[in-house]
């Protein structure tokens, strides 16, 4: 028996984890190798113009759905440039994608020719990684005037080096269910609904209170205090940092106003106490558990997917009380790439107004290129699922009013601490707003202090 016992090796969790780690490393090594060998043969064409022999493979690293492939942009570009092949490396979530991008930048290898950067990370990349990206401001085909000023500024360093070109932005509107609004005695026409709260988020809360008085059983006015907080805080130009880079979240009027409104909604029973992007949030869409929520353009697709066929025609889109941006991204060209010149050309082409309009038509990711707003694909866009709402018109109007938001290096950590710790403790654990705020402060101190 002694021998049988000894022959057992602790091949438990540790072994499984080790195996998984080795497999993952192996996979990433292989991935690295394959992309190297793809580009190795065509390294000579890295100088730019096709050298006649062999194809250049350009890789595009993104998180989530950027819509380039879906809108057929890669195919189109390959047709225009027969010597180019484009491959997309997609990682589902930015919280997996971004740390990987950082380590690849540090190592100077494993990078795609074009790398996407989320708006929440753009400041950190601009301040700490600018030396590792190509300056795109003077590349041919790139027109500064094509982009929204604030979008351009976010990816530009103090010495005027632009390391990322804007892809989409997230102008916000309010998505609401006409059926629930009707039952609660609120107007259902989108212009009347927009007029209910025009200019002031407080009026949005007041509409929520009206809703609550006659609310259909089992429903709440909005999904979460966190979504409301996000929408309100983003309609200010300063949030967590001031323009000199100082952390000001404890005193900034934007955060204070947004927090107070979120607390009013949370403690007043106007929210469904849900956590954004959670399973329960998805289920609440499917079961029509709440009537309205602030929705950036990219969220329309999400709502459509989660609410399903049952919600078709019942959803509509109205203007938000104030203009604000939520989300969006950039694409940049890492200097360690082998096909920089070709990559810059592709990046310029992908972010040109015509292409952004095509992505919008397919994916509802709203263009950051102002030039695209007057193209028919944007201007006349209507969304069948959302009761044929003229989404191009609504979001373009919202986009033009968005303030130049100051973004700092740790914006995401501060935001998550306030929403996922502070607000959730109040909503889900019954803590007081003061307790929630101090918990969020502690969390932020811990995250900011290296």
């Amino acid at each position: 028996m002694g021998t049988t016992r000894k022959s057992f090796r602790p091949r438990g969790r540790t072994a499984a984890v080790a195996l998984a780690a080795i497999a993952a490393m192996g996979a990433s090594l292989l991935a690295g190798c394959s992309s190297d060998s793809d580009t190795a043969g065509s390294g000579a064409s890295g100088s730019g113009n096709g050298n006649g022999g062999g194809k250049t493979t350009l890789t595009v690293g993104t998180f989530g759905v950027f819509g380039y492939k879906q809108a057929g942009l890669y195919d189109e570009y390959q047709k225009l440039h027969p010597n180019i092949t484009i491959k997309e490396n997609v990682i589902e979530r930015n919280d997996t994608y971004y740390p990987q991008l950082l380590t690849h930048l540090a190592a100077g290898s494993g990078l795609s020719d074009i790398q996407a950067i989320e708006v929440g990370n753009i400041n950190e990349v601009v301040t700490t990684q600018a030396a590792k990206f190509e300056d795109l401001s003077k590349a041919s085909g790139v027109e500064k005037s094509n982009f929204l000023d604030w979008k351009w500024a976010q990816a530009t360093t103090a010495d005027n080096k632009t390391i990322g070109l804007g892809t989409d932005i997230g102008p916000m509107a309010i998505c609401y269910r006409t059926d629930l609004f009707k039952k609660a005695g609120l107007p259902t026409d989108r212009t009347k609904v927009g007029a209910l709260w025009a200019g002031d988020w407080q009026k949005y809360i007041d509409a929520g209170k009206t809703y609550k008085q006659n609310a259909p059983a089992g429903t709440t006015f909005t999904d979460s205090a966190a979504g409301l907080y996000q929408a309100v805080s983003n309609s200010y130009s300063e949030r967590y940092y001031d323009s000199s880079g100082k952390v000001i979240y404890k005193t900034s009027p934007g955060v204070k106003t947004a927090w107070n409104l979120a607390m009013e909604a949370a403690t007043g029973g106007l929210t469904g106490k849900l956590k954004l992007f959670d399973k329960a949030w998805d289920q609440a869409f499917a079961n029509a558990k709440f009537a309205a929520l602030p929705c950036p353009a990219w969220m329309l697709g999400y709502i459509q997917e989660k609410a399903g066929d049952a919600g078709k025609g019942k959803w509509d889109v109205a203007a938000a009380p104030k203009s604000a941006n939520w989300g969006g991204a950039f694409i940049g060209v890492p200097s360690a790439g082998k096909n920089k010149a070709e990559a810059v050309k592709l990046a310029a082409w992908l972010t040109a107004p015509e292409q952004q309009a095509k992505v919008f038509a397919k994916q509802a990711s709203f263009p950051s290129a102002v030039g695209a707003y007057d193209l028919p694909a944007v201007k006349d866009a209507k969304h069948a699922y959302f009761n044929n709402a003229p989404i191009g018109e609504i979001f373009a109007a919202a986009a033009k009013g968005i303030p130049t938001l100051v973004i700092g290096p740790k914006d995401q950590q501060i935001y998550t601490a306030i929403t996922d710790v502070g607000i959730l403790q109040v909503e889900q654990q019954g803590k007081t707003p003061a307790q929630g705020w101090s918990a969020a402060e502690k969390e932020i101190d811990n995250a900011l202090d290296q």
Partner: protein, 339 residues
Amino acid sequence: MASDLTAAPTASPDKGGAAPRDHAEQARRDRDERRRKWRSRFYRWDVKGSPYAFVSPFFLFFAAFGLFPLIYTAWNSFYRVELTNLDAREFVGWHNYTRLLQDEFFWNALKNTFTIGLISTVPQLLMALGLAHLLNYKLRGSTFFRVAMLVPYATSVAAATLVFTLMFGTDYGMINWALEHIGFSHHIDWRAGTWSSQIAVSSIVIWRWTGYNTLIYLAAMQAVPPDLYESAALDGASRWQQFRHVTVPMLRPTILFTVVVSTIGATQLFGEPYLFGGTGGEKGGSAHQFQTLGLYLYEQGWTNYHLGRASAIAWAMFLLLLLIAAVNGLLARWLRKSQ
């Protein structure tokens, strides 16, 4: 050297060389001599070197993916360094370690790791022991039951946790639905509460690992000499008494082994609470109510990008595991002595 060897055959007579016979004879002898020398040298190398060559893959992999990260982590833990900018580092000595002593998030994670470890390991091993005892009876289709035991273990953490997360859902979860049927009108928000969330996480761990431990116990039980049971039965011991006085004492070393493995697993618990937490799972709930050490390490390193601090936590965990191993070693020795 190699060219010498390949050149030799061209001079050989069987190629129809015109060289005189004795000359060819001499060349052949030289060649044989050379070959013999080469061969014996090769054998010596083979005997001495081959074992190293055979074991080297593991050690090369270990050096690359085990030792190097360990040392690099230790080195990083003495610096103030961010993942976002690895080139900017400032030496801070033991600061990252000493600050852990005052870090309430660290202590909270340590406490959670301990409580979740306890409420997952103890029931899991007790259930495994009971199940192994049942499976040790003569059963129809015993292979089926034994294989079935291993199914949860073969399921991926991600898949299992996804299902459990749905089951523990507040409004549409199966568990709350079942509770409602037996008279609980209030829906439990499993993830929001401290105990409820820890129980939920533990239940995933228990579900996944009970079968694995059951099979280990079963294997050990089958090695218990049957005559012990026979004589116990002759003395009039019931099944339960046999289990208590024969099976359990005989299984003691095996139980100790499973305790060690489960404890190590519990200390490193990551996947279940991470996925149970949904988006931003590394926080382990809004009040960090089920944040384990593994999650805190991940949060510091990959969400807040404090590589130095994360490295210090990693080493603290490593030292903790060494401590656990030492305690287990002492326990094992004490058990052996007491037998």
